[in-house]
Amino acid sequence: MALDGNALAGPLAGIYAFDVTTARARCAHCGVVARLARALVFASAMGIVARCRACEEVLLTVVERPDGTSVSARGLAWLRP
């Protein structure tokens, strides 16, 4: 049921100017640094939730709203292209 971080590429293409799946990110919960492509991604009709593969806490959520795409990245300590 969980996808990997490559599922984030389409939804985030218009948000970040770099390829998010090859970007490296640090989990704000456990501190693990990994490529976003390694994330556990749960895609549902309410939104996309990317979780850290190490601790399963939420890294990133993407919600498609009528007025555009909303990204919350409070689970990321940092994100680098």
Binding site: A2, F42, E56, V58, T61, R74
Partner: protein, 197 residues
Amino acid sequence: MAITTRGFGGRRAPAEKPLPPGQFLTEDFPVLSAGPTPNVDEAHWQFSVHTESGEVRRWDWAALMAMPVEDVTTDIHCVTRWSRFDTQWRGVSVDAFFEDVESEAEFVMVHSYGGYTTNLPLEDLLDGKAWITFEHGGEPLAPLHGGPVRLIVPHLYFWKSAKWVRGFVMQEHEEPGFWEQNGYHLYGDPWLEQRYA
């Protein structure tokens, strides 16, 4: 003498139940998951209410089974636009859990196994408006649908009906839960189409 007339048609079309705006009817039960399905068996399941004074009231599976059980048939409405009529649940009214809880707080953060949260005003959980359920359609609640125990708050969008529920934390101020932090409406009334914040 009573006279009954059947009308010219003889038979009336069944009264159509209204759907909230923007919803369509389905017979399916689509599953929405924001994370892995937690494995919680009945032997380890616990439910707790934490009040603003720091008191904690706990129930285990045996305590839940000893509470007054109700059968509930209700319509449910998901923010992703599907609705189902007459879904059947078996569980305990949230009112029963609050009989022994003293709190002045007006808001509740619902917590689930797996880390999910959703926020509600307390009054939306009381007076027969919400249930802690353990059966759906006559079967034990499957883990995928929130088993062993799921909160049901049918008058609000279904994301408020938290799967794998483990407790309520009383709050004096309303804080947003998981989806509410991520762009969804703080309250979520389907009849007012309160989908997004």
